[in-house]
Protein backbone atom coordinates (compact mmCIF):
# COMPACT_ATOMS: atom_id res chain seq x y z
CA UNK A 1 0.00 0.00 0.00
CA UNK A 2 1.28 3.42 -0.94
CA UNK A 3 2.46 5.71 1.85
CA UNK A 4 1.79 9.42 1.81
CA UNK A 5 3.65 12.01 3.92
CA UNK A 6 1.48 14.25 6.11
CA UNK A 7 2.70 17.37 7.92
CA UNK A 8 0.41 18.97 10.49
CA UNK A 9 0.45 20.26 14.05
CA UNK A 10 -0.62 18.01 16.92
CA UNK A 11 -1.57 19.86 20.11
CA UNK A 12 0.51 22.81 18.96
CA UNK A 13 3.67 20.89 17.94
CA UNK A 14 4.63 20.41 14.29
CA UNK A 15 4.59 16.73 13.27
CA UNK A 16 5.26 14.79 10.10
CA UNK A 17 4.52 11.11 9.51
CA UNK A 18 3.59 8.69 6.74
CA UNK A 19 0.02 7.50 6.38
CA UNK A 20 -1.25 4.48 4.47
CA UNK A 21 -3.40 5.56 1.54
CA UNK A 22 -7.03 5.41 2.56
CA UNK A 23 -6.24 5.24 6.30
CA UNK A 24 -8.42 7.21 8.68
CA UNK A 25 -7.09 9.87 11.03
CA UNK A 26 -7.73 7.72 14.10
CA UNK A 27 -5.47 4.91 12.86
CA UNK A 28 -2.91 7.47 11.76
CA UNK A 29 -2.81 9.22 15.14
CA UNK A 30 -2.66 6.00 17.16
CA UNK A 31 -0.36 3.86 15.02
CA UNK A 32 1.52 6.39 12.88
CA UNK A 33 2.02 9.21 15.38
CA UNK A 34 1.69 7.45 18.74
CA UNK A 35 -1.08 9.56 20.30
CA UNK A 36 -3.25 6.91 21.96
CA UNK A 37 -5.74 9.34 23.53
CA UNK A 38 -8.40 9.18 20.79
CA UNK A 39 -10.16 5.79 21.07
CA UNK A 40 -11.57 3.40 18.51
CA UNK A 41 -15.17 2.68 19.48
CA UNK A 42 -17.51 2.05 16.57
CA UNK A 43 -15.67 3.15 13.41
CA UNK A 44 -19.03 4.50 12.19
CA UNK A 45 -19.24 7.98 13.64
CA UNK A 46 -21.79 6.97 16.26
CA UNK A 47 -19.90 6.86 19.58
CA UNK A 48 -17.62 9.93 19.58
CA UNK A 49 -14.73 8.13 21.35
CA UNK A 50 -12.37 9.31 18.58
CA UNK A 51 -13.40 13.00 18.85
CA UNK A 52 -10.56 15.41 18.04
CA UNK A 53 -10.42 19.03 16.93
CA UNK A 54 -9.29 20.05 13.44
CA UNK A 55 -8.54 23.77 13.20
CA UNK A 56 -10.53 24.16 16.40
CA UNK A 57 -13.68 22.34 15.19
CA UNK A 58 -14.86 19.03 16.61
CA UNK A 59 -14.42 16.17 14.16
CA UNK A 60 -14.57 12.40 14.28
CA UNK A 61 -11.10 11.01 13.59
CA UNK A 62 -12.48 7.65 12.40
CA UNK A 63 -14.46 9.40 9.65
CA UNK A 64 -11.62 11.69 8.55
CA UNK A 65 -9.19 10.64 5.85
CA UNK A 66 -5.71 11.04 7.40
CA UNK A 67 -4.17 12.76 4.39
CA UNK A 68 -6.76 15.56 4.50
CA UNK A 69 -5.17 17.06 7.64
CA UNK A 70 -2.08 18.18 5.71
CA UNK A 71 -1.21 21.66 7.00
CA UNK A 72 -3.97 21.70 9.59
CA UNK A 73 -4.01 21.82 13.41
CA UNK A 74 -5.20 18.71 15.24
CA UNK A 75 -6.06 18.73 18.95
CA UNK A 76 -6.58 15.62 21.11
CA UNK A 77 -7.21 14.91 24.78
CA UNK A 78 -3.46 14.32 25.18
CA UNK A 79 -2.99 18.05 24.65
CA UNK A 80 -5.33 19.16 27.45
CA UNK A 81 -2.87 18.83 30.34
CA UNK A 82 0.04 21.27 30.39
CA UNK A 83 2.94 19.17 31.70
CA UNK A 84 1.88 17.86 35.11
CA UNK A 85 -0.99 20.36 35.37
CA UNK A 86 -4.31 18.85 34.37
CA UNK A 87 -6.99 20.82 32.54
CA UNK A 88 -9.68 21.90 35.04
CA UNK A 89 -12.08 19.61 33.15
CA UNK A 90 -9.84 16.61 33.83
CA UNK A 91 -9.76 17.50 37.56
CA UNK A 92 -13.54 17.91 37.55
CA UNK A 93 -14.08 14.53 35.85
CA UNK A 94 -12.10 12.92 38.70
CA UNK A 95 -13.89 14.90 41.42
CA UNK A 96 -17.34 14.08 40.04
CA UNK A 97 -16.64 10.39 39.24
CA UNK A 98 -17.38 11.24 35.61
CA UNK A 99 -15.12 8.43 34.36
CA UNK A 100 -15.63 4.76 35.11
CA UNK A 101 -14.12 2.55 32.41
CA UNK A 102 -12.66 5.71 30.85
CA UNK A 103 -13.09 4.74 27.22
CA UNK A 104 -15.40 7.62 26.31
CA UNK A 105 -13.53 10.11 28.52
CA UNK A 106 -11.00 11.53 26.00
CA UNK A 107 -13.78 12.23 23.49
CA UNK A 108 -16.01 13.71 26.21
CA UNK A 109 -13.16 15.96 27.38
CA UNK A 110 -12.38 17.23 23.87
CA UNK A 111 -16.09 17.95 23.22
CA UNK A 112 -16.48 19.65 26.62
CA UNK A 113 -13.35 21.77 26.14
CA UNK A 114 -14.64 22.92 22.73
CA UNK A 115 -17.93 23.92 24.36
CA UNK A 116 -16.32 25.91 27.20
CA UNK A 117 -13.90 27.64 24.82
CA UNK A 118 -16.90 28.81 22.78
CA UNK A 119 -19.31 29.40 25.65
CA UNK A 120 -17.69 29.71 29.12
CA UNK A 121 -21.10 29.82 30.84
CA UNK A 122 -23.22 27.16 29.13
CA UNK A 123 -26.68 26.15 30.30
CA UNK A 124 -27.30 22.55 31.31
CA UNK A 125 -29.13 22.11 27.97
CA UNK A 126 -26.09 23.41 26.08
CA UNK A 127 -23.87 20.92 27.93
CA UNK A 128 -26.20 18.06 27.03
CA UNK A 129 -26.24 19.20 23.40
CA UNK A 130 -22.43 19.54 23.35
CA UNK A 131 -21.84 15.94 24.45
CA UNK A 132 -24.75 14.50 22.44
CA UNK A 133 -22.28 13.08 19.92
CA UNK A 134 -20.44 11.11 22.62
CA UNK A 135 -21.77 7.86 24.05
CA UNK A 136 -21.02 6.71 27.61
CA UNK A 137 -22.16 3.21 28.57
CA UNK A 138 -21.17 3.11 32.24
CA UNK A 139 -21.32 6.20 34.46
CA UNK A 140 -24.51 7.50 32.98
CA UNK A 141 -24.37 11.07 31.77
CA UNK A 142 -25.28 12.92 34.97
CA UNK A 143 -21.79 12.91 36.59
CA UNK A 144 -20.29 14.05 33.27
CA UNK A 145 -22.79 16.91 32.96
CA UNK A 146 -22.12 17.91 36.60
CA UNK A 147 -18.36 17.84 36.03
CA UNK A 148 -18.60 20.13 32.99
CA UNK A 149 -20.99 22.53 34.72
CA UNK A 150 -18.65 22.73 37.74
CA UNK A 151 -15.86 24.04 35.50
CA UNK A 152 -18.13 26.51 33.70
CA UNK A 153 -17.77 30.04 35.07
CA UNK A 154 -19.98 30.42 38.11
CA UNK A 155 -21.08 26.79 37.81
CA UNK A 156 -22.89 27.50 34.53
CA UNK A 157 -26.32 29.02 33.95
CA UNK A 158 -28.59 26.31 35.31
Amino acid sequence: MAKKPVSFTLNGSPRSAFTDEGANLLDFLRRGVGDLSPKYGCGQGTCGACTVTIDGELHLACLTLAETIEGRAVGTAAGLAKGATLDPLQEAFMDHFAAQCGYCTPGMLVAARALLDRDPRPTREAVIEAISGNLCRCTGYEPIIQAILSVAEGGGRR
Binding site: A2, G22, E129, G133
Partner: protein
Protein backbone atom coordinates in the same frame (compact mmCIF):
# COMPACT_ATOMS: atom_id res chain seq x y z
CA UNK B 1 -6.74 -1.82 -1.52
CA UNK B 2 -7.88 1.76 -1.82
CA UNK B 3 -6.29 4.63 -3.70
CA UNK B 4 -7.13 8.26 -3.03
CA UNK B 5 -7.15 10.80 -5.87
CA UNK B 6 -7.37 14.50 -5.03
CA UNK B 7 -8.30 16.99 -7.78
CA UNK B 8 -8.07 20.80 -7.74
CA UNK B 9 -11.50 21.35 -9.33
CA UNK B 10 -14.89 19.67 -9.26
CA UNK B 11 -14.81 19.33 -13.04
CA UNK B 12 -11.58 17.30 -12.83
CA UNK B 13 -13.07 15.12 -10.09
CA UNK B 14 -16.23 14.57 -12.16
CA UNK B 15 -14.15 13.42 -15.13
CA UNK B 16 -12.22 10.98 -12.91
CA UNK B 17 -15.40 9.37 -11.56
CA UNK B 18 -16.18 5.89 -12.86
CA UNK B 19 -17.92 2.67 -11.84
CA UNK B 20 -14.93 1.66 -9.66
CA UNK B 21 -14.82 5.03 -7.85
CA UNK B 22 -16.66 6.78 -5.00
CA UNK B 23 -16.66 10.48 -4.20
CA UNK B 24 -15.57 11.61 -0.71
CA UNK B 25 -17.17 14.78 0.66
CA UNK B 26 -17.62 15.21 4.44
CA UNK B 27 -16.80 11.56 5.08
CA UNK B 28 -19.69 10.76 7.43
CA UNK B 29 -21.11 8.19 4.98
CA UNK B 30 -18.25 7.01 2.78
CA UNK B 31 -15.64 6.65 5.56
CA UNK B 32 -17.93 4.18 7.33
CA UNK B 33 -17.80 2.01 4.23
CA UNK B 34 -14.04 2.46 3.97
CA UNK B 35 -13.53 1.48 7.64
CA UNK B 36 -15.68 -1.62 7.08
CA UNK B 37 -13.63 -2.61 4.02
CA UNK B 38 -16.58 -2.06 1.69
CA UNK B 39 -15.50 1.11 -0.14
CA UNK B 40 -14.78 1.42 -3.86
CA UNK B 41 -11.23 0.81 -5.11
CA UNK B 42 -10.77 4.49 -5.95
CA UNK B 43 -11.73 7.36 -3.67
CA UNK B 44 -12.14 10.67 -5.53
CA UNK B 45 -12.04 14.02 -3.77
CA UNK B 46 -11.53 17.68 -4.62
CA UNK B 47 -10.17 20.73 -2.83
CA UNK B 48 -12.29 23.06 -5.03
CA UNK B 49 -12.94 26.14 -2.81
CA UNK B 50 -16.10 27.14 -4.75
CA UNK B 51 -17.96 24.21 -3.16
CA UNK B 52 -17.95 25.93 0.25
CA UNK B 53 -19.67 29.10 -0.97
CA UNK B 54 -23.11 30.36 -0.01
CA UNK B 55 -24.69 32.96 -2.33
CA UNK B 56 -27.96 34.85 -2.12
CA UNK B 57 -29.58 36.36 -5.20
CA UNK B 58 -33.09 37.71 -4.80
CA UNK B 59 -35.26 34.95 -3.37
CA UNK B 60 -32.79 32.16 -4.19
CA UNK B 61 -30.07 30.86 -1.90
CA UNK B 62 -27.31 28.80 -3.50
CA UNK B 63 -25.52 26.40 -1.18
CA UNK B 64 -22.20 25.01 -2.42
CA UNK B 65 -22.10 21.21 -2.27
CA UNK B 66 -19.57 21.18 0.60
CA UNK B 67 -21.45 23.57 2.91
CA UNK B 68 -21.79 21.78 6.26
CA UNK B 69 -24.71 21.57 8.68
CA UNK B 70 -22.69 23.66 11.19
CA UNK B 71 -22.18 26.32 8.53
CA UNK B 72 -25.95 26.51 7.93
CA UNK B 73 -26.41 27.03 11.68
CA UNK B 74 -23.91 29.92 11.60
CA UNK B 75 -25.75 31.77 8.81
CA UNK B 76 -28.48 34.05 10.14
CA UNK B 77 -29.77 34.33 6.59
CA UNK B 78 -30.59 30.58 6.59
CA UNK B 79 -32.60 30.65 9.82
CA UNK B 80 -35.50 28.79 8.18
CA UNK B 81 -33.16 25.77 7.86
CA UNK B 82 -31.80 25.94 11.43
CA UNK B 83 -34.43 23.67 13.02
CA UNK B 84 -33.53 21.07 10.39
CA UNK B 85 -29.72 21.31 10.51
CA UNK B 86 -29.81 21.23 14.31
CA UNK B 87 -31.47 17.81 14.24
CA UNK B 88 -28.79 16.21 12.02
CA UNK B 89 -26.26 14.09 13.95
CA UNK B 90 -24.29 15.43 16.92
CA UNK B 91 -21.87 18.40 16.97
CA UNK B 92 -19.03 16.41 15.36
CA UNK B 93 -21.18 15.13 12.50
CA UNK B 94 -22.65 18.60 11.90
CA UNK B 95 -19.10 19.98 11.47
CA UNK B 96 -18.38 17.35 8.81
CA UNK B 97 -21.61 16.39 7.02
CA UNK B 98 -22.28 18.33 3.81
CA UNK B 99 -25.53 19.44 2.20
CA UNK B 100 -24.83 17.54 -1.03
CA UNK B 101 -23.76 14.40 0.82
CA UNK B 102 -27.13 14.43 2.58
CA UNK B 103 -28.86 14.04 -0.82
CA UNK B 104 -27.24 10.62 -1.13
CA UNK B 105 -27.64 9.48 2.48
CA UNK B 106 -29.23 6.03 2.75
CA UNK B 107 -32.29 5.37 4.92
CA UNK B 108 -32.89 6.45 7.72
CA UNK B 109 -30.62 9.47 7.12
CA UNK B 110 -31.40 12.46 4.91
CA UNK B 111 -33.38 14.81 7.19
CA UNK B 112 -32.05 17.90 5.43
CA UNK B 113 -32.97 16.39 2.05
CA UNK B 114 -36.54 15.93 3.28
CA UNK B 115 -36.67 19.65 4.06
CA UNK B 116 -35.01 20.63 0.76
CA UNK B 117 -37.56 18.53 -1.11
CA UNK B 118 -40.47 20.37 0.52
CA UNK B 119 -38.77 23.72 -0.16
CA UNK B 120 -38.52 22.96 -3.88
CA UNK B 121 -34.72 22.78 -4.15
CA UNK B 122 -32.94 22.33 -7.49
CA UNK B 123 -29.58 20.65 -7.86
CA UNK B 124 -26.73 22.00 -10.01
CA UNK B 125 -24.72 19.05 -11.31
CA UNK B 126 -21.04 19.29 -12.30
CA UNK B 127 -20.73 19.81 -16.05
CA UNK B 128 -24.48 20.14 -16.66
CA UNK B 129 -26.20 23.35 -17.67
CA UNK B 130 -29.61 23.71 -16.09
CA UNK B 131 -30.29 22.58 -12.52
CA UNK B 132 -32.40 19.45 -11.90
CA UNK B 133 -35.39 19.43 -9.56
CA UNK B 134 -34.44 17.51 -6.41
CA UNK B 135 -37.53 15.25 -6.84
CA UNK B 136 -36.05 14.14 -10.15
CA UNK B 137 -32.49 13.61 -8.85
CA UNK B 138 -33.65 11.43 -5.95
CA UNK B 139 -35.23 8.94 -8.36
CA UNK B 140 -31.87 8.02 -9.93
CA UNK B 141 -29.44 9.28 -7.33
CA UNK B 142 -27.21 6.20 -7.49
CA UNK B 143 -25.94 7.25 -10.92
CA UNK B 144 -26.49 10.98 -10.78
CA UNK B 145 -22.90 12.29 -10.94
CA UNK B 146 -21.34 15.03 -8.81
CA UNK B 147 -23.29 17.88 -7.24
CA UNK B 148 -21.87 21.41 -7.54
CA UNK B 149 -24.53 23.31 -5.60
CA UNK B 150 -28.10 23.32 -4.37
CA UNK B 151 -30.44 26.18 -5.31
CA UNK B 152 -33.11 26.89 -2.79
CA UNK B 153 -36.07 29.26 -3.11
CA UNK B 154 -36.33 31.12 0.20
CA UNK B 155 -39.87 30.73 1.61
CA UNK B 156 -41.61 34.11 1.27
CA UNK B 157 -43.16 33.72 4.69
CA UNK B 158 -40.89 31.73 7.05
CA UNK B 159 -43.99 30.57 8.95
CA UNK B 160 -45.16 28.72 5.84
CA UNK B 161 -42.37 26.16 6.33
CA UNK B 162 -42.42 23.53 9.06
CA UNK B 163 -40.25 20.53 9.96
CA UNK B 164 -40.69 17.72 12.45
CA UNK B 165 -38.32 14.82 13.14
CA UNK B 166 -39.18 11.86 15.33
CA UNK B 167 -36.27 9.97 16.91
CA UNK B 168 -36.02 7.56 19.81
CA UNK B 169 -32.93 9.23 21.29
CA UNK B 170 -32.60 12.96 22.08
CA UNK B 171 -30.98 15.26 21.23
CA UNK B 172 -29.11 13.04 18.76
CA UNK B 173 -30.87 10.17 17.06
CA UNK B 174 -31.63 8.88 13.58
CA UNK B 175 -35.14 9.36 12.20
CA UNK B 176 -38.04 7.08 12.93
CA UNK B 177 -39.58 9.48 10.45
CA UNK B 178 -39.30 13.11 9.39
CA UNK B 179 -41.88 15.47 7.86
CA UNK B 180 -41.29 18.78 6.08
CA UNK B 181 -44.08 20.99 4.77
CA UNK B 182 -44.15 24.18 2.74
CA UNK B 183 -47.68 25.58 2.87
CA UNK B 184 -47.85 29.02 1.20
CA UNK B 185 -51.19 30.70 1.87
CA UNK B 186 -53.18 33.21 -0.15
CA UNK B 187 -56.07 34.78 1.72
CA UNK B 188 -55.83 32.02 4.31
CA UNK B 189 -56.03 29.20 1.76
CA UNK B 190 -53.08 26.94 0.98
CA UNK B 191 -51.77 27.29 -2.61
CA UNK B 192 -49.06 24.98 -3.90
CA UNK B 193 -48.54 22.72 -0.85
CA UNK B 194 -45.30 20.72 -0.85
CA UNK B 195 -45.02 17.98 1.77
CA UNK B 196 -42.03 15.62 2.03
CA UNK B 197 -41.52 12.54 4.17
CA UNK B 198 -38.18 11.15 5.40
CA UNK B 199 -37.44 7.53 6.43
CA UNK B 200 -40.77 6.47 4.87
CA UNK B 201 -39.26 4.99 1.70
CA UNK B 202 -35.92 4.24 0.01
CA UNK B 203 -35.25 8.01 -0.07
CA UNK B 204 -37.17 11.15 0.99
CA UNK B 205 -40.49 11.30 -0.88
CA UNK B 206 -43.15 13.87 -1.74
CA UNK B 207 -46.56 13.02 -0.33
CA UNK B 208 -49.07 13.58 -3.14
CA UNK B 209 -51.87 12.31 -0.86
CA UNK B 210 -51.30 14.95 1.83
CA UNK B 211 -50.68 17.72 -0.71
CA UNK B 212 -53.99 16.96 -2.48
CA UNK B 213 -55.91 17.20 0.77
CA UNK B 214 -54.28 20.50 1.79
CA UNK B 215 -54.34 22.41 -1.50
CA UNK B 216 -57.01 25.10 -1.67
CA UNK B 217 -58.02 24.59 1.97
CA UNK B 218 -57.73 26.51 5.20
CA UNK B 219 -55.48 24.81 7.73
CA UNK B 220 -58.42 24.03 10.01
CA UNK B 221 -59.05 21.03 12.25
CA UNK B 222 -61.11 19.13 9.66
CA UNK B 223 -58.47 19.56 6.93
CA UNK B 224 -55.68 18.53 9.31
CA UNK B 225 -57.64 15.40 10.28
CA UNK B 226 -58.14 14.49 6.61
CA UNK B 227 -54.40 15.01 5.89
CA UNK B 228 -53.48 12.80 8.84
CA UNK B 229 -55.93 10.13 7.68
CA UNK B 230 -54.41 9.83 4.18
CA UNK B 231 -50.76 10.34 5.23
CA UNK B 232 -49.68 6.69 5.03
CA UNK B 233 -51.55 5.91 1.79
CA UNK B 234 -49.44 4.02 -0.71
CA UNK B 235 -46.27 4.09 1.42
CA UNK B 236 -44.01 1.09 1.95
CA UNK B 237 -41.45 2.27 4.54
CA UNK B 238 -38.42 0.18 5.52
CA UNK B 239 -38.22 -1.87 8.70
CA UNK B 240 -35.00 -1.32 10.65
CA UNK B 241 -33.63 -1.37 14.21
CA UNK B 242 -35.43 1.92 14.98
CA UNK B 243 -38.95 1.01 13.86
CA UNK B 244 -40.94 -1.49 11.81
CA UNK B 245 -42.69 -0.55 8.59
CA UNK B 246 -46.02 -1.10 10.40
CA UNK B 247 -45.04 1.29 13.20
CA UNK B 248 -43.88 3.99 10.79
CA UNK B 249 -47.15 3.83 8.84
CA UNK B 250 -49.23 3.72 12.01
CA UNK B 251 -47.71 6.78 13.69
CA UNK B 252 -47.13 8.93 10.59
CA UNK B 253 -50.63 10.43 10.71
CA UNK B 254 -50.22 11.37 14.38
CA UNK B 255 -47.06 13.33 13.63
CA UNK B 256 -48.49 14.91 10.46
CA UNK B 257 -51.33 16.18 12.62
CA UNK B 258 -48.94 17.58 15.24
CA UNK B 259 -46.85 19.41 12.63
CA UNK B 260 -49.88 20.85 10.84
CA UNK B 261 -51.49 21.96 14.12
CA UNK B 262 -48.25 23.72 15.06
CA UNK B 263 -48.10 25.41 11.65
CA UNK B 264 -51.78 26.37 11.88
CA UNK B 265 -51.09 28.22 15.14
CA UNK B 266 -47.93 29.89 13.76
Amino acid sequence: MTTVETYPTLADAARALGPDAAYLAGGTLLMRELNAGRAAARIIRTTDPSLAQIRSTGDTVTLGAAVTMARILNERDLDFLHPVARRVGGPQVRNMATVAGNLFAPHPYGDLTTALLALGARVVMAGQGSPRPLDDLLRDRDRAGLVAAIELPRPRDPRSFGFLKVSRVHPKGASVLAIAALLPREGGRIRGARVALGAMGPHPLRSAAIERVLDGQNLDAATIDRAAAVAAEGLDPPTDALASAWYRKTVLGVHVKRLLERMGQG
